[in-house]
Every structure is written in structure tokens, then in C-alpha cells.
């Protein structure tokens, strides 16, 4: 299986451990990734907060590039990116005038034919039974709190993925890996997203609540599929502990980390040893 690949700025920056993890485990599953040539930033929170047109144009440029290269499907492991790409895609598909205008703005005509997948959808595409059969070291003892954050399931009209009130797609992957997922109450509560630098206090408060609830429900780790969530829960965990005087010591895994581990890949290959909270 070959997919187009849109890493987004985070995966090439602070969250390059996520990229290592995604590439290694998808490689092990026989999924080839081909990076979209000359992709640009999707605009993230800044674009949609400042200028509506820009928030469509930046993702539109990337959709156009992907289409030009002939990708039917692309993987965007960052849910912020996948949400912006899908939103732009829906808008241009339903409004011919907008599509033409975007084509002019981004200097490339396109039709919006490329579909955008998140990481969990790629695992579903590979097939959970296939993954289960390929598991070499089942994740026994793993009690995962599957954390979806905001942008994997919301807004539901745009993402059309899983159930935004009772999601279960990540739990299904964990089960296929032989691990246990705990039932907890903060699956889709916001961690503070891109406010890490701009409004750190909000991030620390919200992320603290998430870590607390995960622990209260017996989790020994939190699993995410979003680089911003990972940064807020992992990199900032020390700051959370300082601010709240609560010791969390909670390991935060990317979903691809766990898939890779179960397939027998090493922590180093997967970039797990580069997490801030790492037990070794």
C-alpha cells in the first residue's frame, strides 16, 4: 500500500519523534509513504484565527500539490492538519466559485479529489486483523487511556470519523495489540492545543485534568495521535507537576509507538526514548 504523506510542521520540528514512530511502524506494516512535494504549513490555529481566506488557501495549496502528484489518499498524522485539509476540501468541493478562486490564489487548479486520512484510519485501512496477526510482543500489562483530544472527532460534519461523544477507534487498535484500554472521562476534552507558548497556563490546567483523570481510572499510560497533545502532556508534564504539586509520572505514547512496539520494533527506532517522560 502506498499513501501520500503530509507531515506538517510539528512532525518535522519538535515532534519529529512522532514522524520516526509513524514511518517505522507503517514501514513494518508494508505501507509506503511518499511525502507530498514542497508541502507548506496548513496554517494551523493562527490562520483560522486571523484570516478566513488564508485558512482555506494554505491547506488548499497542499491539496492541489497532492492532486498534482496523483495521490488518491494522503496521511496527515497531525489532526490539526487533517482537520484543516478536510475543511478546505469540503468547502471547495461544494462551491465551484470558491474552488476557482482558490485555484487562482494558490496558483494551481485542483478539484479536491484527494482524501485525507488520520493515523487511526490508516491502521483501519491496513486492517486490525492484519495488525493483530503481525503482533510479535502483545502489550500485556498496558492499561492505556486512549486520548483523542479535540480534532480527531470534531467537528463531526467535517471529520466524519468515529463518534465524537463515545469514540472507540483507538481502543480497537489497542485491543488488536493485546493491550487493555481503560474507560475514562476525558477522552475528548481539550488539552489546550496550540496555546502551549501563547497561553501556557491554560494548557497546564487542562492537561493536568487529563492526566489526573487517566490515573484515576487506572491507566498506566496515555495514548495520543496528535503532536500538540503529546507536547502538552509529555514535554510540559514537568511544568504541570511544578504548578500543581502533583506527581504524575505518566508516560505518553503515540499510537504508532505502541503499534511499533507490538510489532517488535525498538524504542529507539520508534523515537520513544526521546520522550520527556520515559521510563526506559
Amino acid at each position: 500500500m502506498e499513501l501520500g504523506y503530509y507531515p506538517g510542521c510539528a512532525l518535522h520540528g519538535t515532534s519529529n519523534d512522532y514522524e520516526d514512530s509513524v514511518r517505522a511502524c507503517l514501514d513494518a506494516l508494508g505501507v509506503g509513504l511518499k511525502e507530498v512535494n514542497d508541502w507548506i504549513c496548513c496554517g494551523a490555529t493562527a490562520a483560522h484565527s486571523i484570516n478566513h481566506k488564508l485558512s482555506i488557501a494554505l491547506p488548499a495549496r497542499n491539496l492541489a500539490l497532492a492532486e498534482r502528484e496523483g495521490f488518491g489518499e494522503i496521511l496527515a498524522p497531525c489532526p490539526m492538519c487533517s482537520m484543516e485539509l478536510l475543511k478546505a476540501s469540503d468547502l471547495v468541493k461544494s462551491d465551484a466559485a470558491l474552488r476557482q478562486e482558490m485555484g487562482r490564489i494558490v496558483e494551481l487548479d485542483f478539484e479536491g479529489r484527494t482524501s485525507v486520512l488520520n493515523l487511526i484510519q490508516v491502521f483501519q485501512k491496513v486492517g486490525l486483523d492484519t495488525i493483530k496477526a503481525a503482533v510479535k510482543s502483545p502489550l500485556e500489562g498496558l492499561k492505556a487511556a486512549c486520548y483523542y483530544g479535540c480534532l480527531l472527532t470534531r467537528p463531526p460534519e467535517t471529520l466524519r470519523f468515529d463518534d465524537c461523544e463515545r469514540p472507540s477507534s483507538m481502543e480497537a487498535v489497542i485491543a488488536a495489540l493485546g493491550g487493555t484500554a481503560v474507560e475514562w472521562n476525558y477522552k475528548t476534552e481539550c488539552c489546550g492545543a496550540g496555546m502551549t507558548l501563547a497561553n501556557t497556563d491554560i494548557v497546564l490546567d487542562l492537561s493536568h485534568k487529563i492526566l489526573t483523570n487517566a490515573a484515576a481510572h487506572g491507566a498506566n499510560c496515555v495514548v495520543v495521535a496528535c503532536p500538540m497533545c503529546h507536547v502538552n502532556l509529555d514535554m510540559k508534564q514537568a511544568d504541570i507537576e511544578r504548578r500543581t504539586a502533583v506527581r504524575h509520572g505518566m508516560t505518553i505514547y503515540y499510537l504508532s509507538d505502541l503499534v511499533g512496539r507490538a510489532l517488535g520494533l525498538s524504542d529507539h527506532t520508534l523515537g520513544i526514548d526521546r520522550h520527556f517522560v520515559y521510563g526506559g
Partner: protein
């Protein structure tokens, strides 16, 4: 040669402001056949009608055209007027120069010309009008009432007390409906079963009420005054005549843990059961899905062994019976919107954020009624379903599924504000140190003593009312965390509740659409049955002889359901007050000699009013096949006329000649 009178109405200023009525009247007086043309301010008034009658007599008229408002308003009036003066009422035409002319145009000159054209068309038509006679149909003076809740019970008692037999069909094993499951009713806090069961007993013992419980309407044939109803009596496996209701069987049943339908899943019942102690009839049924003996064909049979009157028969089958009635009253009631799950129609998505079905201590309003009820699964103690402990903080959510365009139903379910206040009060009466919290958007308490009742809940029983919806409910450490808002204070509100009660939306009962189709009654997009006119004809339907009452028409409380039931009963009694009923004669007829027997009309008639028949000689010898209209069922829609390839079908009162005459009068 026809002697036509044309009477043009001013309708005060409604017509005269835009149409020059005098000019119109003068112009029409010139038409051939018109022997009298005059105008008057209010044709429908008594002097106006007298004027028409005078002229009929003095000018010897045999046809009348009234140019005024819509026939929907006064066609009946003018037909009566003409009939009383000796003119056949079907030789009366109305030209609508108000809704079709003066109310939709501004220019006086063109409106006047148009009015003249419209009336000229009616004059041309009336020349061809035949002197029709109303169709007489016999009337079977018995009524069918579908649904044995409080509305059905009231309608049945009214008709039966009026002297006529009633067949009452109820789907559940007992009558009583939703009201039988309530604890107390607002605004009086009467014990619901105490006020209902006397009525239920009356129905059960009434000499003129034939009660079919655990039964459903299978098929409906016929028409106004002449319905043949097929009823399916579902197999009860218990002979209700010999059974004494002693209870030995259900006490012996080893399958004790089926979720009780009457308790909305909060309590348990055996496989052979009576839904509640005051059931009418007080005879059990066996649930064939859970009874070992019926499912496997062998084994168990403990109830049969215990039964001293040998009333249990495992080989029972469904039975179809036929009843002839003249009128039908539909009172099928309501159920609650399914929260958090797939809906009947797949179009609505439920509320995953409220945790219903996931957290045991999140219940619906009807479930809470069962907790409150003395005959409920907890004997009237308010306890948490999860651990049986008494809740000290109960949160009530209003409008769950109601007033919600995005995820539920856009309408208001009417009764929830009142019953939520009632719940808050009853909870406080039972748990003195408990606190009720109500999240609401508005308080709808418009009935008699209703506002005072809600204030009592707040002022005397200390219920805390927060104006705002709840976003999410989840369980943490055995408590339900309720995240709501107080928009009046301008802040989010979080409450840790022991129990949460959701006031779910009121929707029509399951299966109502199928029943409506059998009866030819319309229903709206939610399944509520359609009344003929929302203001003036709330209990009649588009199907003659079929009436509706209670929550099947729209969400409503008990006083309204009872009042509407009596109204529906009165409509049936009006019918039964006649030896025979009349139907308008504007029905289709088929020239049977000409008919090619292609039966296209049979297939296209929406009322199934045309049959395949045979034309016979007087001695009964077969001549040819033909289509034949049943004038009792025909609604005069004209579809058969449109599709008939041999022009054998025509519509009395709107014949093809008449229509052509109107059109040709224009050109």
C-alpha cells in the same frame, strides 16, 4: 334553458376595495341565461341569504352563482340557502373573487376584469350542473377505539355511556397506558392509579364495551359508517375466561429476571406475568420470547402445573377476529424519545454526551416515575439503580431531545416543565434532606394552577432552578458530574449528582405510521397524526369517520387528552345520532358500457375506491368486465378521470363537459 341568478358580494371592503362590484354585477346581467344579477354587502349574512331566496322565488331561478369568498368558507351556507328555496344545492356554484382576485391584486381595473371572467366561468359551469342528490350510506352504530390509555378509556366510556357499543383494542396486556405507570399527577398530586383505575374497572365491566387487550388492529376495510376491522388477538397462552388471576403461575415461574416493560427496565418480571397489580383485565400473559416451554417446545411448564383452573395453554395461537364498526377513534398515545441510541428513523442521533445507557444512575423521566411510584420496583423509595442508596443530590434536565434542531426534535414536548417540577417536589417529599437541581431553558406552565405549582416546587420545596442546558454528564467516583450553565448568572455550573433524570422528548408510539396508513389518516414528519384543521377541527381527520385524540395527535397533558377524547367521542355520537349518513355526491362514476376494463383506475385510485366488477344483464348473465366506483369510499380526487384512456370515468359535479365549459367561457 337555465334560469341563473348571479349574486356578487362586496364582503364589506375585502372585495369591494379592489373589485368594482357594481360594474361586475351589471356586466354579468348581460350574459345569456342570467335572469338576475345583483350585488350586496354581505351575501353570507341573514339578509343576504334572504335576498337570494327571494330572487329564486320571484325570478323562478333554477341555478345560483355566488361570487364571493372561497368555497371553503361558505359553499355549505349557500347550498343550504338555495335548497331551502327549492333549488337543488348542487346547482350552486361559487366564484372566488376574494382569495383568487381581490386579495391578490392591487389594480382595480384588471381585478374587476378578472372577477368578471371568473364569474363567467362559473355561470358556464352551472349551466351543466346536474341536480345531484347526496349519497346515503348506512351507519353501523358501533365504534372502534384503538388504544387503552386515559384518552382511549375516556372516549370508550363516553360512547358506551351514550348508548352504543364500543370495541376497545389495546396492544399491551392491560389498559391504562402511560398514566397507569405514573406516581402522582400535576397539578393536584393526585395518585395517578387511584384516579385512573376506577375508570379502568368501569371499562372492564361496562356492558357495552368489548375489550380486546394484547391485541392489535390488523386490517381496516370499508368507509365512513361501514368499517370492517380485522383484529389480531396475540396469543396469551392463558384462557382469560377460566383464569381467576390468583397469581400462582407467576409466583411459580422460574424465569424471574426479564426487564419489566412497565417499569421501563428498572424492575424485573417473570416470563408469565401481569404488568401491574391493578391490571385490567387482571389476567397474565406469557412472553413467548423468554418462556422456556414455548421457546423450546418442551420442559418447564411449572405454571401450567400450578394452575388450578387449567387456564394455561402452551399451544395458543394468534387469532384473527372481525368487527364491524361505523366510527374509529385513534388514541395510541406516546413514548419517549430514545436517548443516546439509534432512533427508529435513523435521522436523529441521540445524546452520547449524557451517558444514558452507559451510566446506571442516568434515567429517563418515566423511569423516575417508577422509582417514585408506591407500586414500583423499589416500593416508592427513591434510590440509585446502581447501588440502591438514597440520592442526596438529584439533577433534572429539561428539553432532552426537545427544542433541538441539530440533534433531536425541534418542537416542545409540552409536559416536561410541569412533570419536572412535580418530580422535584415528590423527590423532596420523600428525601427530606435531598436537593433537587433543575436545568431548564424556559418554564412552560400555562395551564390552570400550573404556574403556582412550579413556584411551589421552587419556593416551598427548595428546588434549585438553573437557566441553562447541560453540556455533558460523566461518572467519577460513583458520582455523576453534570456540566451545565447558569446563563442568568453568566457562569458555568458543575454539580456532582447522585442521580440524573432526563426529561426526554415525547414522540408518537411505535407503529403509529402503519396504523395510520391502514386507516388512511395522514401523519406529519414526526409521526403525529394529522387533524383536519389545527384550530377548528382538532379531532377529525382527512378520513371520514376516523377521529383522533390524546398524545397521538401532539404532546399533551392528561386534562387535554381527556377533553380531546370526549370531543372525539362526541363526533362519533353525532354520527350515530343518524339513521343513515350522507356523503357529498361529488364522486367519480364510470360509464360501465364504455369501460375497457383496463383497470388503470383501480391501480391508481389512492383510496382503493374502485373495484373490478362485472356488468350483468338483469337476469345475472355476464356481459362484460368493468371498473366500478364505490361511492362510499370515493373522495372525488379525479385521478381516475385523468388516467382513464377510454374516457369512461367522470366526476359528478366536475364533469369534463363542465370543465370544458369553464375553459371555453374564458377564451
Amino acid at each position: 334553458m337555465a334560469r341563473i341568478g348571479v349574486f356578487t358580494c362586496w364582503c364589506g371592503e375585502n372585495i369591494a376595495r379592489t373589485v368594482d362590484v357594481e360594474q361586475v354585477s351589471a356586466a354579468l346581467g348581460q350574459l345569456p341565461g342570467v335572469h338576475c344579477s345583483l350585488d350586496y354587502k354581505y351575501m353570507c349574512s341573514e339578509p343576504g341569504q334572504s335576498l337570494i331566496q327571494e330572487k329564486i322565488k320571484s325570478e323562478n331561478l333554477d341555478a345560483v352563482v355566488v361570487a364571493s369568498c372561497s368555497p371553503h368558507m361558505h359553499l355549505r351556507t349557500f347550498r343550504k340557502t338555495a335548497a331551502n328555496a327549492g333549488v337543488n344545492p348542487y346547482r350552486v356554484e361559487m366564484a372566488n373573487i376574494r382569495e383568487h382576485c381581490s386579495w391578490v391584486h392591487h389594480d382595480r381595473a384588471t381585478a374587476t376584469t378578472k372577477a368578471i371572467d371568473l364569474i363567467r366561468m362559473s355561470v358556464a359551469k352551472v349551466r351543466w350542473d346536474e341536480p345531484l342528490e347526496p349519497i346515503k350510506v348506512p351507519v353501523t352504530r358501533r365504534a372502534l377505539v384503538v388504544g387503552g390509555g386515559v384518552a382511549g378509556i375516556q372516549a370508550a366510556l363516553d360512547i358506551a355511556d351514550g348508548g352504543y357499543e364500543v370495541v376497545l383494542v389495546e396492544r399491551e396486556p392491560s389498559i391504562g397506558g402511560k398514566m397507569a405507570g405514573l406516581s402522582e399527577t400535576f397539578p393536584t398530586l393526585d395518585c395517578s392509579q387511584c384516579i385512573l383505575t376506577p375508570r379502568m374497572v368501569e371499562v372492564g365491566q361496562h356492558p357495552r364495551i368489548k375489550l380486546y387487550t394484547y391485541s392489535e388492529v390488523e386490517q381496516v376495510e370499508g368507509y365512513l359508517g361501514n368499517f370492517t376491522i380485522t383484529i389480531r388477538k396475540k396469543a396469551r397462552y392463558v384462557d382469560t375466561k377460566s383464569c381467576t388471576g390468583c397469581g400462582d403461575c407467576w409466583n411459580a415461574c422460574p424465569i424471574k429476571r426479564n426487564p419489566s416493560e412497565f417499569d421501563y427496565g428498572l424492575g424485573m418480571r417473570p416470563a408469565i406475568y401481569i404488568p401491574f397489580p391493578q391490571a385490567v383485565p387482571a389476567r397474565p400473559v406469557i412472553d413467548k420470547e423468554t418462556c422456556t416451554r414455548i421457546k423450546k417446545g418442551k420442559g418447564c411448564g411449572l405454571c401450567e402445573k400450578k394452575c388450578l383452573t387449567h387456564s394455561i395453554h402452551f399451544d395458543d395461537q394468534d387469532e384473527l377476529v372481525s368487527e364491524k364498526v361505523g366510527a374509529v377513534v385513534v388514541a395510541t398515545g406516546f413514548k419517549l424519545y430514545s436517548i443516546g441510541q439509534q432512533q427508529d428513523d435513523g435521522a436523529t442521533t441521540g445524546y452520547g454526551e449524557y451517558g444514558y445507557g452507559k451510566f446506571k444512575d442516568v434515567v429517563t423521566s418515566l423511569q423516575f416515575e417508577r422509582l417514585l411510584s408506591a407500586s414500583g420496583p423499589t416500593g416508592g423509595r427513591v434510590v440509585r439503580p446502581s447501588d440502591g442508596k438514597e440520592p442526596k443530590n438529584v439533577v433534572f434536565l429539561s428539553c432532552v431531545g426537545s427544542r433541538d434542531d441539530a440533534k433531536g426534535l425541534p418542537y416542545c414536548s409540552k409536559i416536561c416543565c410541569m412533570y419536572t417540577a412535580k418530580h422535584a417536589m415528590l423527590y423532596k417529599h420523600k428525601v427530606h434532606d435531598g436537593q433537587a437541581h433543575v436545568f431548564y431553558m424556559d418554564i412552560r406552565a400555562g395551564g390552570k394552577n400550573y404556574e403556582e405549582f412550579v413556584r411551589r416546587a421552587i419556593e416551598q420545596d427548595g428546588a434549585r432552578y438553573y437557566r441553562g442546558r447541560v453540556s455533558r454528564i460523566y461518572e467519577e467516583n460513583g458520582k455523576l458530574v453534570v456540566r451545565g450553565a447558569d446563563t442568568l448568572a453568566g457562569a458555568p455550573v458543575t454539580i456532582e449528582a447522585d442521580l440524573v433524570v432526563l426529561a426526554a422528548a415525547v414522540v408518537p408510539a411505535t407503529g403509529v405510521r402503519d396504523l395510520a396508513r391502514k386507516l388512511n389518516v395522514g401523519y406529519d414528519q414526526y409521526g403525529f397524526l394529522l387533524e383536519s384543521h389545527p384550530k377548528l377541527r382538532p379531532v377529525e381527520t382527512s378520513a371520514a369517520g376516523v377521529f383522533i385524540c390524546g398524545a397521538c395527535q401532539a404532546p399533551k397533558d392528561i386534562p387535554e387528552a381527556v377533553a380531546q377524547a370526549s370531543a372525539a367521542a362526541s363526533k362519533a355520537l353525532i354520527m350515530f345520532g343518524h339513521e343513515e349518513l350522507t356523503r357529498e355526491p361529488e364522486v367519480a362514476r364510470i360509464d360501465e358500457k364504455n369501460c375497457a376494463a383496463c383497470f388503470t383506475c383501480v391501480r391508481t385510485c389512492p383510496y382503493h375506491a374502485i373495484d373490478k366488477a362485472e356488468l350483468l344483464t338483469p337476469r345475472g348473465v355476464f356481459v362484460k368486465r368493468t371498473a366500478r366506483v364505490n361511492p362510499g369510499l370515493c373522495m372525488g380526487c379525479g385521478t381516475c378521470v385523468a388516467v382513464c384512456p377510454s374516457k369512461s370515468a367522470d366526476l359528478a359535479g366536475f364533469t369534463e363537459q363542465e370543465i370544458y365549459a369553464e375553459v371555453e367561457a374564458l377564451v
